[in-house]
Symmetry: C2
Subunit: 233 residues, 2 copies
Amino acid sequence: MNPKAYYKLTYGLYIISSKSGDKMNGYIANTAFQITAEPPQIAISCHKDNLSSSIIKDSGLFAISVLKQDVATKLIGTFGFKSGKNIDKFDSVDYKTGSTGIPIVTTDCVAWFECKLVQTVDVGSHILFIGEVVDNSLLDENQEPLTYTWYQTVKNGKAPKNSPTYQKPKELKETDSKSEFKKYECIVCNHIYDEAEGDAETGIPPGTRFEDLPDDWVCPTCGAEKADFEEVK
Amino acid sequence: MNPKAYYKLTYGLYIISSKSGDKMNGYIANTAFQITAEPPQIAISCHKDNLSSSIIKDSGLFAISVLKQDVATKLIGTFGFKSGKNIDKFDSVDYKTGSTGIPIVTTDCVAWFECKLVQTVDVGSHILFIGEVVDNSLLDENQEPLTYTWYQTVKNGKAPKNSPTYQKPKELKETDSKSEFKKYECIVCNHIYDEAEGDAETGIPPGTRFEDLPDDWVCPTCGAEKADFEEVK
């Protein structure tokens, strides 16, 4: 078994959004695919621990916004690595309200699909939500959609821990350098970033080098930027 | 609703193979995606009419071979547009026998996954097969996998009629030019020859009338003859 074989599976990157009562939420997914043509149905895989799973189950609705290739990394950080339990992710984006009443993110997106849930499949750690497309829109025909490969290679992006395609750093050890992990200290609040441990709160897996943190990663304690960290000697 | 919005969903292209008793079969799919990480499970969507659906149900096994970017069009023609009811698709390719006994195509592939079926979901015209990966291999780390976008734009490929992402030519009329050029559809694989566009792959310049195509011209997708084309009204 070679974990790197999975890198040859091709995906896009999407914001999946929903709303139940007054609570809106959304997250980043790479697993959205059309499973029938007539009627058009799309399946997504969502971790059971994600707030969005319960919101989609409650409302029976979800939307898929297709991210464009040059999406702002900050948008992925907000929707992919932060929990809607703590912040309102929609504060920082443009969205429209679909015909079913759910929010549909349009910032940095090329198309969207609004779906009614028709089937729910328990697949272990995740739930497969199958939705029938009730509305859609092509926002920008000429913009390329962001692919997962582009996100990983050009944007140096990682998979969040609850992603269906997440791989533990230990499984990828063969690709790691042999050097020892380092620690970095926030000069504002003295928070320590330890490469060996990563940072669970901001979704950074153990073994992530400081230099590989997203450019818009901030100190989980005080919000200082990467440039405000110094290596602990 | 805009059918072209679906073009912004990103897919790879795969050969799905299986075997039941002595009968081996395989087909081309663009819908294969990992739905959980632990254990690794992959879902595929297969049309109920496909021979492969009954073979996968009977055997409880399937393999996914990831096609490389510069795959031979003929391979896609054989596995994507011909039925295993009539020919042995494996005559023309290299394949290995996996640990479960099923054939795994290796010709023009960069990686493969061998799966045991763990769940079957009826989604209307198609069946969602969910398999747990029992073995895999990375055949060529440096080769890019073929994406569906590449197949459509560079190779001018079409979706087979039983694909979850198939779109009827009439639904795409809004994209037609206003000129009096005509279109002809391959009755075998639904490939469209558009006189306005010609056919770059077989060296036919834009503006070439169908009647002016060489007598030995064949469908670039499946190899059918000129006589197998019908004018699109």
